[in-house]
Structure formats: C-alpha cells, structure tokens
C-alpha cells in the first residue's frame, strides 16, 4: 500500500494553491490521477518520487517511510523505487538508445536488465541510434524502458502518450498494460483520455485545486456503468457528418471505427476528438460465427 498524506503550498501564476492530499493506493493496481491542468497531479507525483519536498505530512510505501516531516525523513529519489516517464520523453540527446538505458543503471547493478528491456520494448535494432532519429512512439518506448532499468516498484506515467498519434497511442497502451503486469508494478498514470483511462486503470482519483474530490473504478467514475445498456464501449469521435435529417458519427473504438446514427440533439454537443460512450441494448446486435 502506498499512503500519501501531504500538504504543500504551490506557487503558480494565479497565486498560491494548497495541495492537501490523502491518497491510498493499493499495491499492484493501475491507477489514474485525473483533473484539470493545475489541479496538482504532477506535483503529487513529483513529491512521491522525491523530486519535490512536501511542506508537511507522511509518505509510506509498504510500511517503509519515504517522507515524514516530523521525523525529518526524506529519502532521496535514488532511494525510492520509482520509475518516472514524462510526456516529453526526457532522453539524453547525446546518447544512443542503449546508453540512455545504461545511464540509469545503479552502481553495481547487473547489466542483464538492459538486454531484457531492449528485447521487451523491441528496441534491439534501434539500440545504437540517437533519440533525434527516432519517432515519437519509439522515443517513448525508450523512456519507458529506461524507467524500468532500476526495477522500480512504482511506475509513474505523466501524460506519457498525449503527444502521440492515435494508432501509436493504442499500441503503447497495450505495451503499458503488459509491463504493468509483467513487472508487478504499481502504476500511476496522469491522463485526460477517457478511453485510455478506462482501458488501463483499476481506479481513478480526480484532483481539483489540490484535493481529491472523487474516487472510483474507471468505468464507474465516468458513468459507463450507469445505464442498463450492456453493449457499450468508450471511444473517440473521428467524424460527424450530417446526412439528411440525421447525423452519422464515426467513433474509434480500439482499432475499429464504428458508426452511430444520431439526432442533432446529441450531434450538436459533440466535436471531433471528444471521448464518448457508445451504448446499445444487448438485444440489438446480431452475432454470427466467422
């Protein structure tokens, strides 16, 4: 169990904000921090990883104290078993892929992990390349692999896929799930993509002005279970076309594009890129063996 009970006054453009958080994260879960920009998500992750010091409070991980303002305990980032992946990859531009990974090795750490991660991330053929020659998806695979070099218990993903195109995002989502399970990680994601959150996370915490205002399982959180409809998916609006008196809305669900006929009352409230719930009764779809 990861327990954070921390306070921190953050200075921002709009004045001070007090981050006052109580978060309990079950070991092995994939959780998401959700909320507007400036709600305190990244600051929370920085405090968990030791990059930012809380003003007061306690952080314990599986019974070990990482931070305690009263007892003056504050483990340095290297002592916390946390892997951190940033949106902008944060790779060393002057190093090859392999060197980027090797740089993360701790003193006296066995180098076998490098081969394992190059394999897992399918980076073998790219290992001598410099980051600037890689695509966004490849760079993020390197950043992920690097975050795993020290065999962390906790993996922090701060909007890791938001700069990537849809196809790559879906591919890397699968990869994130695979890593999460293989290395038995507790993974903490920051994302605004509802489809991604529902696909990946066990539990969602919503932050607003430095406080947790809502918590729930991903599908409960976004109201996806709140209809009796059993044939339901979440996806992203790709196209809205008016045809006659109706609208045809194309939605990307997983790798498939489906079409939903809709009245203007819904269509007018939607735009391309919106996350949507598509639902129908279990009585409607036909099913056939192929």
């Amino acid at each position: 169990m990861i327990r954070l009970n921390i306070e921190k006054t953050l200075k921002s453009g709009g004045g001070n904000m007090v981050l006052d958080l109580e978060l309990n994260i079950v070991k092995g879960e994939f959780i998401t921090l959700f909320g507007d920009s400036g709600a305190g998500k990244t600051s929370t992750l920085r405090m968990l990883s030791g990059l930012l010091k809380p003003d007061s409070g306690i952080i314990t991980v599986d019974g070990t104290t990482w931070f305690d303002s009263h007892k003056k305990i504050n483990l340095i980032p290297q002592q916390r078993k946390v892997g951190y992946v940033f949106q902008d990859y944060a790779l060393f531009p002057n190093m090859t892929v392999r060197q980027n990974l090797e740089y993360a090795l701790q003193r006296n750490q066995d180098g076998d992990i490098i081969e394992e991660l190059l394999d897992l991330a399918q980076l073998n053929e790219l290992q001598q390349r410099k980051p600037e020659t890689l695509s966004g998806g490849q760079k993020q695979r390197v950043a992920l692999a690097r975050a795993l070099v020290q065999r962390p218990d906790i993996l922090i993903l701060d909007e890791p896929l938001s700069a990537l195109d849809l196809k790559m995002r879906i591919k890397l989502q699968e990869y994130l799930l695979q890593i999460h399970k293989k290395y038995k990680l507790t993974t903490i994601l920051v994302s605004h993509d509802v489809g991604e959150i529902v696909k990946l996370s066990d539990c969602v915490f919503e932050l607003q002005n430095g406080r947790v205002i809502k918590k729930g399982t991903a599908s409960d959180f976004f109201g996806l279970t709140k209809t009796s409809a059993k044939f339901r998916f979440s996806g992203e609006v790709l196209k809205i076309v008016q045809e006659d008196v109706i609208y045809v809305i194309s939605v990307l669900i997983g790798n498939d594009i489906i079409k939903v006929v809709s009245d203007r009352r819904e269509a007018n409230g939607l735009k391309v890129g919106d996350q949507v719930l598509v639902a129908s009764k279990a009585f409607n779809p036909i099913i056939q063996k192929i």
Partner: protein
C-alpha cells in the same frame, strides 16, 4: 436520444432478466426489459427514480389509435413539427411527459399523410428502452 425521468412502479424478474415499469407522468408508464435483476444492480427498486432512454430511430408512429401489434409502449402525442428529408423524416411530438423526437422514413411519413397538429400513437418496443439510474 429521448430521455425522460420517471419512477419505477413494477419489476418482474425471471432468471437474469427483468421487465421494469417506469411511470414518466401521471398514469403513463414506459416498459423496459433489461439483463439485470434487483440482485445484480442496486437501482432496481420500486419507487426509485430512473431515466428512461430510447433512440429517435426506434420510435414507430401510427395514425390508428388501437392496433393489434406486439409493441408494448404506446403513448399518445401530437405532431408539433415535421422536417421531411430526402430519405428520412424528423418528427417532434408533444406528449404528457415531454417532447419526443421520432425519426422515420419520409416514405412512411408521406404514406401516413402526417401533418403538424395531427394526433398519433408513439410506439417503442420494450427491448429498445434503456434505463439509466
């Protein structure tokens, strides 16, 4: 999507399915069949408030008042607006529980001779009605 708030007045369960009656206005009930039971979802309790949802395209319109047909939900309404398109037609209907939108073929609209202010029956099969607590 047509959506109306209502109150559950009756639940009939067999196996994993339930037929649920929801009163959306005085004496007007809409009926839904769901793959849920009071044991599987907490909201299925008599007296609970739920929203009743059905799509515009699932609405059948009849100009006859009494029809021998296997459509369980039948409500009276008055056509307040008609938009006839090349293939499809959008009707706005006024009922005792609010405005219903129906999308039917322009062919049917013409065949039935639908006009504004006409009194019609609005019908929806029970397996097209979604409940949203």
């Amino acid at each position: 999507m047509n959506s109306f708030p209502g109150q559950i007045t009756d639940i009939e369960t067999y196996g994993d399915m339930s037929i649920v009656h929801v009163e959306v206005a005085n004496q007007i009930e809409l009926i839904s069949i769901v793959l849920d039971t009071p044991q599987t979802v907490p909201y299925l309790i008599k007296g609970n408030r739920v929203n009743v949802l059905f799509k515009e395209m699932e609405v059948t319109i009849s100009t006859q008042n009494e029809l021998d047909i296997s459509i369980e939900n039948r409500i009276s309404g008055i056509i307040t607006n008609i938009e006839i398109g090349a293939l499809m037609c959008r009707l706005t209907l006024e009922t005792n529980f609010g405005e219903v939108v129906a999308i039917i073929s322009s062919m049917s609209a013409k065949h039935l001779g639908l006009t504004e202010n006409m009194k019609v029956k609005i019908m929806v099969k029970l397996n097209e009605v979604i409940l949203a607590p």
